[in-house]
């Protein structure tokens, strides 16, 4: 009788505790014992749960769940079919998502990347360029036309894709049919600039470099603390480039670049551009619209990540003579980013510092430069 009572009591306790556990414990996986959840500061697009034995579940919000299975272990029986299994070691990666390269580089794990979706001349991560020169990394086609044969022949065991792959679902399906798991990263969806950097923690899980990831992230995140108390300069900033069709490409207001400008003490000229519910990070507008918005901006920053960099104000005027009317052109406050920006997910903190130096006119630059 006492035994029965004890058992009932225990059961009641367990039942009572369950809802609370479910909230904090994240994902229940039959056959695995939950240990902890990863702590995050800025990223909202992923969650990581750890389980006994070194298993980790990565959830990419609104996309998919991936169970990272340590080397020598197997996925538990009866695993929900919707959870994709990533069996470590993940050492023959096809990296199509360019923003991941800088982060993997910071982890010292470029050896794990065998194939890439960008040609050598498209990389701005020095070590990646070198790896391609040395043949350690091979170009294996773009997201829409990957070289399946090369992937198979190289024993590729993970394809890390950007959200571009969602445009070609048949390609994703084909890669998976070839037995290669596809991981779609959402770093570009992060609103907070350091949210992108925080994705280094995901790569840390995949590549078994969690500690390195944590340490690097903390060093970049400290920038935020530095700027926490600064006053807004009241200066306005436009961040843009001219597309080949003559339209002006600007970042959406909710994108991470405007966020960086705000953190650095500036104000992005577009308070509310692009549909806030969409995941678009940039929008194309007409020169007329841009003119109306940015004519009196204190600073113009030319985004050279897609278009070629420009070095002089004359080059800007050659793109459109209307720039002559702009306040920032007349005052000479026109800057340009390096090509490296988009791939530079690792040094976002440094870019915020650059923005602040530009706004205040004090301090050295890492990768912004002023047009002459």
């Amino acid at each position: 009788m006492r035994k029965l009572l004890t058992a009932l009591l225990a059961l009641a306790l367990v039942l009572g505790a369950l809802p609370a556990m479910a909230e904090s414990a994240g994902q229940e996986i039959p056959g695995l014992v939950w240990e902890s959840s990863m702590e995050k500061e800025f990223a909202t697009e992923f969650n990581v749960d750890y389980y006994e034995g070194g298993y980790a579940l990565i959830e990419v919000v609104g996309s998919a769940k991936y169970l990272v299975v340590p080397e020598g272990m197997t996925a538990p029986d009866g695993l929900d079919a919707s959870i994709r299994v990533l069996q470590q070691p993940l050492d023959k990666i096809y990296l199509q998502a360019t923003s991941g390269m800088a982060l993997i580089d910071q982890l010292g794990a470029l050896d794990s990347v065998r194939l890439v979706g960008t040609k050598q001349n498209g990389w701005y991560v020095e070590n990646a360029v070198q790896a391609m020169e040395e043949g350690k990394m091979l170009f294996a086609g773009s997201y829409s036309e990957p070289d399946y044969e090369l992937m198979i022949n190289e024993g590729c065991n993970l394809a890390i894709e950007s959200t571009m792959i969602l445009h070609t679902p048949k390609v994703q399906e084909m890669i998976e049919l070839l037995g290669i798991p596809v991981f779609i990263e959402h770093a570009s969806y992060e609103n907070h600039p350091l949210g992108r950097t925080e994705w280094i923690k995901v790569y840390g899980v995949l590549l078994d470099k969690e500690e390195e990831a944590e340490a690097f992230f903390n060093s970049q995140a400290s920038v935020i603390d530095e700027f926490a108390g600064i006053e807004n300069t009241g200066k306005t900033v436009a961040f843009f480039y001219i597309a080949s069709d003559g339209s002006v490409n600007v970042r959406a207001s909710r994108d991470y670049v405007p966020a960086m400008i705000e953190i650095a003490g500036g104000n992005y000229i577009f308070e509310n551009i692009a549909d806030p519910t969409s995941n678009r990070s940039a929008v194309s507008i007409s020169m007329e619209e841009f003119y109306n918005a940015a004519l009196n901006a204190d600073f113009l920053i030319y985004n050279a990540t897609i278009d070629d960099p420009i070095y002089t104000i004359d080059e800007l005027l050659a793109k459109d003579a209307l720039f002559a009317d702009f306040k920032a052109v007349q005052s000479g406050d026109v800057w340009c980013t390096g090509k490296y920006l988009f791939q530079a997910t690792d040094i976002i903190g440094s870019l915020i510092v650059d923005f602040n130096h530009m706004l205040t006119g004090e301090g050295d630059m890492t990768f912004l430069y002023k047009l002459s």
Partner: protein, 837 residues
């Protein structure tokens, strides 16, 4: 002022009515007609005051474009230049924009154009309209000719444009489909400088150059479905340019082309105060005004010659009053003289009335060549040599010497040399380095960069040796280039007048040779029995609606699924067409029942591009002569870009047909499945052929089969062939289409997958299990994604063993072992007969 008030009231009334009629629209944010109307109307209403009618206020001197000197003494300012009140007072006037003169104090100006045309009055669809910018697109759906004057309906893609200045007047725009519209006077087939005003950016005037192409030689008047007259701006035909009010008299529009120039003499007593230099048929002539009436005769030669050659004395044709620099009123005599040469002193004798003596003088007409873009010459360019192609070329002529600016398709060659590779290697002084790079998008949509080279002094219409230096191999390669300039062919459009912004004329493809379009068909209109085409990127398709036979010659009406095609080059000439409903339509001579090469010019890309196509127009009735091409087999075998040779005799099979073509191409038609084209190793793939057949590229060194029957036959063939080395022997393996292992195909580097008969179309009445059908679709799609061709085997569907065995021929062709396969087939069939006997 009364008019203004009336108009304002009328506009307000219209506005109220419109608002009442469309309350919902008016509330919405969309830029609908209702919101447009008052906006468009306002500037118009404000310009009407009588002051604008006064010539001084309304007509703008335009010294920058007109030659500074002019001859005709009469100033021809017409007071009627204002807007006709009956047009503007009516509310409907907002729909038909009316012209107002450009106020002298406001923004940029345009100068009057000569919009006379030889076309009869009516409405026309122009064959082309260029102009605008990346941001704002101009189009011109209609040209109206009235009283021998042309005006164009200009559609501007941005609704922010509230007026356009053209030909010295201002035209308010009205909302219309595609943006806003204005009817403006235009000089056809040449550049017209216009100014557009956008309300965006706080209001700004922007200069554009537009060119409206319409063949003036042939009346191609559109059927004019509505007799609705288009309101013509009343101002344009009557405005005559007035030059500086101080001295320069105006010029009457004149035949011949004005040439911008300066003139000087070698003697202070012989002074020309103004001149007009005209070039007609390659010869210059000038109307000059001397500074006084001191000389009354001129002679184009020396004083000595003049004295004895009274027949060629040139008397003054009139006098001209002008004001000199000191403000004094003066009179000078006007002479019309031939100009033997420009840019060099020419002797002229002048006869002094007071002294009754001929004096030797020299006059120099300097044509300002540096300020004037060199004359672009219409041409085509052809190159020889592998990997050496010119994507655009601009040929300019200066004093009879041609120079070219060419852009190569890539950056592989960094230097050129006009001569042979051997000469180039030893003559570094004449190496031509690239002068610029050019980014473009190729037909496949890929971003490319090419080098731009400037070639001085090139000969035309001959094949020029050209050495190209390969940057990677550091070697000179022999190539050649030919610039074809039409010498006798009449050019349908006059070359455009020099504009401030010369656009490169990228020319890529030579005009196809003349075809024999004769046909035995009676004159009349026919529908083609079959039409096929190849070429281009595949984004634009071509259709052929009819064939017209006139005088025993066949003309096809072909239409591109794009409104950007400006002309078509075919049968040795260039043809202009019309754009209707988003399609560009042309009528061109064709050789029926044969491949015809044509070239289409599209302006859809950043620069004009010429693209080669092959079209094939088939009319069965045209084959009365029963030549080889007439057999039903030949018709079925016809593949664009390939020359049919013969068809194999098929003994037993119900499902296969085998056709052969020049160059070793073979097509295999599998009934109920597909048409396959087997392309020999190293052979070029005819562009667009994939629209007609599934391509199987030889050699096939690794194949997979999901058909037991096929795999058996293939194994038999392979074991009957003795290969020199094991590496030369193709490898065949089983591949289960029910449990497809795609990785296995890639690991083995598969060149072909043979799938079983279940992949053929179901027979009539046969229901296919939906799941199985979806699975097969997946296999098809995935093989396509992997780039592995697929062939459907129907050997087991054959009615008898003979039919099945005949598939040996198919596999023999695919494996390149036809003879062995044929022997096997014959032996097996012989054995069958034996057994049967």
């Amino acid at each position: 002022m009364k008019n203004t008030k009336l108009r304002m009231i009328a506009l307000l009334l219209t506005l109220v009515m419109l608002l009442a009629a469309f309350p919902v629209l008016a509330d919405s944010q969309t830029p609908m007609l209702t919101t447009e109307v008052p906006v468009e109307a306002t500037p118009e209403a404000s310009v009407v005051p009588e002051t604008s009618i006064e010539p001084e206020a309304s007509i703008e001197p335009e010294t920058s474009i007109e030659p500074e000197a002019s001859v005709e003494p009469e100033t021809s300012i017409e007071p009627e230049v204002s807007v006709a009140p009956e047009v503007t007072a009516e509310p409907e006037a907002t729909e038909a924009p009316a012209a107002t003169e450009e106020p002298a104090d406001e923004g940029m100006t345009t100068s009057p154009v000569d919009n006379s045309t030889s076309l009869p009055d009516g409405e026309y669809v122009p064959s082309g309209c260029t102009g605008g910018s990346g941001k704002v697109k101009f189009s011109c759906p209609k040209v109206t000719v009235k009283g021998g004057k042309a005006s164009a309906t200009l559609v501007i893609s941005s609704s922010k444009y509230d007026y356009v200045k053209a030909s010295g007047s201002k035209y308010a725009t009205a909302a219309c489909s595609g943006g806003v519209c204005a009817d403006i006077p235009v000089a056809l087939n040449r550049d017209n400088r216009i100014v557009g005003h956008t309300t965006a950016m706080g209001g700004k005037e922007i200069e554009y150059t537009i060119c409206i192409t319409l063949d003036e030689s042939a009346a191609q008047q559109t059927p004019a479905p509505t007799a609705e007259p288009t309101l013509e701006p009343t101002a344009e035909p009557t405005i005559e340019p007035s030059l500086e009010p101080t001295s320069e008299p105006t010029l009457a529009p004149d035949e011949g082309e004005d040439t911008e120039h300066s003139v000087e003499t070698d003697n202070k007593m012989f002074k020309i105060v103004s001149s007009k230099l005209t070039k007609k048929d390659g010869r210059y002539s000038a109307r000059i005004v001397l500074s006084s009436t001191g000389y009354d005769k001129l002679y184009m030669g020396t004083a000595a010659q003049a004295a004895s050659d009274s027949a060629n004395w040139i008397a003054y044709s009139g006098s001209c009053d002008y004001t000199n620099a000191s403000g004094e009123a003066k009179t000078g005599y006007v002479f019309n003289i031939p100009v033997a040469a420009v840019n060099t002193p020419i002797p002229v004798a002048a006869y002094s009335t007071s002294k009754a003596v001929w004096y030797d003088r020299n006059v120099t007409f300097t044509v300002k060549q540096p300020e004037q873009p060199d004359k672009d010459t219409e041409h085509t360019v052809e190159t020889t040599g592998k990997m050496f192609s010119i994507i655009r070329s601009r040929l300019t002529e200066k004093n009879g010497v041609y120079s070219a600016e060419i852009t190569l398709s890539g950056t592989g060659y960094d230097m050129l040399y006009l001569g042979t590779a051997a000469q180039a290697a030893t003559d570094s002084s004449k190496w031509i380095a690239y002068s610029a790079t050019y980014d473009y998008t190729n037909d496949a949509g890929a971003a490319k960069t090419g080098y731009v080279f400037k070639l001085p002094a090139v000969e035309v219409n001959v094949s020029l040796p050209l050495a190209a230096h390969s940057a990677s191999s550091n070697e000179w390669k022999d190539r050649s280039v030919t610039f074809h300039v039409a010498t006798s062919e009449p050019t349908p459009t006059p070359s455009p007048a020099p504009s401030a912004t010369p656009t490169a004329t990228p020319v890529t493809v030579a005009t196809p040779a003349k075809v024999n379009s004769s046909t035995t068909l009676a004159d009349g209109t026919y529908s083609p029995d079959k039409f096929s085409w190849s070429g281009g990127s595949g984004r634009t398709s071509i259709s052929c609606s009819k064939v017209t036979v006139k005088g025993g010659k066949a003309y096809a009406t072909i239409s591109f699924s794009s409104d950007s095609y400006g002309y078509v080059k075919a049968s040795g000439s260039k043809y202009y067409g019309s754009v209707v409903g988003g399609r560009s339509t042309f009528e061109i001579p064709v050789k029926l029942n044969a491949n015809n090469k044509i070239v289409g010019m599209t302006s859809a890309m950043s620069a004009d591009h010429e693209i080669a196509y092959t079209i094939y127009v088939y009319i069965a009735a045209a084959n009365e002569t029963a030549d080889a091409a007439a057999s039903p087999e030949a018709l079925e075998a016809q593949l664009i870009g390939l020359n049919y040779v013969s068809s194999d005799k098929i003994d037993h099979s119900k499902f296969i047909k085998i056709h052969r073509y020049e160059g070793g191409y073979v097509s295999i038609v599998v009934e109920g499945a597909d048409r396959y084209l087997i392309v020999p190793e190293g052979a070029e793939l005819p562009v667009g052929i994939e629209q007609e057949a599934s391509i199987i590229q030889q050699p096939i060194m690794s194949l997979h089969s999901g058909s037991d029957s096929a795999l058996d036959m293939i194994s038999d063939i392979l074991s009957s062939v003795s290969f020199a080395t094991p590496e030369e022997a193709p490898v065949a393996a089983w591949w289960d289409t029910a449990a497809p292992n795609y990785a296995a195909l890639l690991t083995a580097g598969s060149d072909l997958v043979i799938v079983p008969e279940t992949f053929a179309e179901p027979d009539a009445g046969e229901e296919l299990d939906a799941e199985a059908a979806a699975a097969m679709t997946d296999v098809r799609e995935r093989l396509e994604l992997l780039g592995v061709p697929m062939l459907v085997d129907r050997s087991t569907d054959e009615e008898d063993e003979g039919g099945r065995l005949e598939w040996l021929k198919v596999y023999g062709i695919l494996l390149g072992c036809e003879n062995e396969a044929q022997s096997l087939y014959e032996a097996a069939v012989a054995y069958l007969l034996e057994v049967a006997a």
